[in-house]
Symmetry: C2
Subunit: 398 residues, 2 copies
């Protein structure tokens, strides 16, 4: 796999993208069975929404694969180049990770995009999706594998695991001799469960308890736009805000109208005592409120005494995902950006912008809240390793 | 810790370096007790050699700490800088990892160097050394902590764990909420044992089954120097060669004299059938021979039919540490460098040169044979994470 040229990877991925569209009706037929089954099992509407495919969503998969195909090949990139002792010529070169196992839940497009991303980075991938999408994923994986294999990619480079028992995942997670990385993309509970069993290195697509902090010196109109967008634009995703912190000097001018705007969008607020004074209809809060990931039209709201208290609150209750400050004071912004220990820290922008596409880095396989190897949005480049290549002329250690 | 300036880190580390020398007699007194105890317990001479300190070795610790103090501060480095959508200004910035736990065996200098490296990268560190060095490590850790604390570093930034039971390590390895990275530096068995218990991410300082491959088109004089140096210059370390592969067309001209030179240095050879024909005094081999890490004056030797067979052998039996080819044929060199999947691949140079100092990268905390986060020599920079810092002017997600 490490030796396959980018030309071959590109043309195989483009063929797979077209194959998805050609087999749209087969994909939708399998997906309809998954959706029927999910409805019969009374699974949640949001899960069914993530599961359901239509022609537009299949076309979206094609677009995603084409984008990945056309992205810059990371393999062979010279990350650094330097001289060691006695003229030893040393390079740090980007190479594939090797074998990646991908464990995920209900969204069938993850099957397609993970295969494409892993392959573009020269890896083999084992795909193990959720039970509720098994029929869709089986068809999608077969279409990808067949198209890739017809265009020069080994048949086994992408493998789909159809067994659905939990023991199978645990066994997989201990094959550290064979698997170089396990990516777990799902609920916090699922990720932690796998991490506690695994000997393979796990990158968890993390919990997103993201904060918007409205400072003393904020442009309150901008703050309202950012806070509204961060919560409401797509509440079910990890970079949506879950918690609003407001400096006490801004609270009276900001919170009542902000709350009205949230209310009109159907957002339920869970506030501390000072918030409830300004927004009497807000629900109460407990210590659990501050670390809750709603993934829904609900939000925690707290009035804080200072920037320091906001930073401390975020570092204590946040999940290290994405946090933003709205302020017109550059010193306050810099302090926040330096002191909040999260994968991404923003000033005067919505947390929803933490995204590989928005950042201009291309398609992402997830957002990591871990600090090792990859932190924040993970794309093709984060699916690689490096090696040192040193060329000598007889150098030995003295 | 993330906020401490490099000036403070530098002056505190320099004070600690001088403190080590000032307290030399106290260090040597504690060390003599450890060495006595090791002798009474009949521990191996090589372990006692690693354990024993003298004035020169203490002076060496001072040098190492001064070198780390003076090295470039990695924190705050802008790794990348780019624009996202609508003018969002994005930087990827180097930040401390957080809390590092360091588990190691008999060499007391690891206590000093780990503390200095972790601190230079803005981290806190928990040190847990081997039982046989407990008295030396206790004194060394106290000298470091006191000197650092007197010069502006929090008292708790370096902590020494004196409990010696295995359960304590297992418990430590599951504190993933508090510890960001666990570095295990010791035997393969020790590293694997910790990995199988840990939920904290583990970087194992890996087993080194390093190879020297002498190609068909090698300069045989160079090959002899490289192969001799790789085995003999310091046989007890991870980047010493354990296995010599010789192309069949070079074997008759190369092996007999090479073997004589090894023999004169006391190296025991374990050869395959074709080697034994050329070197009758060599011991035999079994399949286990090829993955053995001797860490001693012993070496596996095999005659191979081709470059491809050599590459295949290394990828099958090696440990992915450091492997070298000796060849005058640039195509053969490039094929080897591209196809051998190891942390470092060399042409025409000794495996012993895989070292942070030789590479010009500064002091190392170990050599990683894992692919994630850090591969190969790990220095101050590998003890950091990154975060995305994005500065906006009211951008929201459309």
């Amino acid at each position: 796999m490490a030796q396959i040229s980018d030309e071959v990877k590109k043309s195989a991925l483009r063929a797979a993208a077209e194959s998805l569209v050609a087999y749209t009706s087969r994909i939708l037929k399998a997906n309809a069975l998954d959706v029927d089954s999910a409805i019969r099992k009374k699974l949640s509407p949001s899960l069914i929404d993530r599961l359901a495919l239509n022609e537009k969503r299949v076309a979206g998969m094609r677009e995603a694969v084409l984008e990945i195909a056309g992205s810059k090949d990371p393999i062979g990139e010279i990350v650094e180049e330097f001289q060691g002792q006695e003229g030893l010529k040393i390079k740090k070169v980007r190479v594939p990770l090797g074998v990646i196992a991908m464990i995920y839940e209900s969204r069938p497009n993850v099957t397609v995009e993970s295969a494409a991303l892993c392959l573009k980075a020269g890896n083999s991938v084992l795909l193990r999706g959720g039970r509720e999408a098994i029929r869709s994923n089986t068809v999608l994986a077969k279409i990808m594998i067949d198209a890739l294999a017809a265009h020069g990619i080994p048949q086994d480079a992408v493998q789909f695991i159809s067994q659905q028992d939990r023991e199978n995942i645990y066994a997989l997670s201990r094959l550290d001799h064979w698997i170089d990385l396990l990516i777990a993309r799902g609920s916090e509970k699922m990720v932690r469960d796998i991490q506690s069993h695994a000997t393979v290195a796990v990158l968890g697509h993390g919990k997103g308890v993201c904060h918007v902090y409205v400072d003393k010196d904020a442009d309150l109109k901008m703050a309202e736009e950012v806070a509204f967008n961060a919560k409401v634009q797509r509440p079910g995703v990890c970079n949506a805000a879950e918690s609003l912190l407001v400096h006490k000097d801004s609270a009276a001018r900001f919170l009542p109208s902000m709350a009205e705007r949230y209310k009109s969008a159907g957002v339920v607020l869970h506030g501390d005592a000072r918030t409830k004074k300004l927004v009497p209809w807000a629900k109460g809060s407990s210590v659990k409120t501050w670390s809750t990931e709603y993934l829904d039209l609900a939000m925690s709201v707290k009035v804080v005494d200072s920037l320091d208290q906001a930073i401390d609150h975020i570092n204590t209750y946040g999940s290290g995902h994405t946090d933003t400050i709205v302020t017109s004071n550059p010193d306050a912004a810099q302090k926040f950006l330096k002191s909040v220990d999260s994968a991404a820290v923003f000033s005067n922008a919505s947390t929803r912008l933490h995204d590989g596409g928005v950042f201009g880095l291309g398609a992402e396989i997830g957002i990591s809240t871990q600090k090792l190897h990859a932190r924040g949005t993970m794309g093709v480049r984060e699916l690689t390793a490096t090696k040192y290549v040193a060329e000598g002329s007889g150098q030995i250690r003295k």
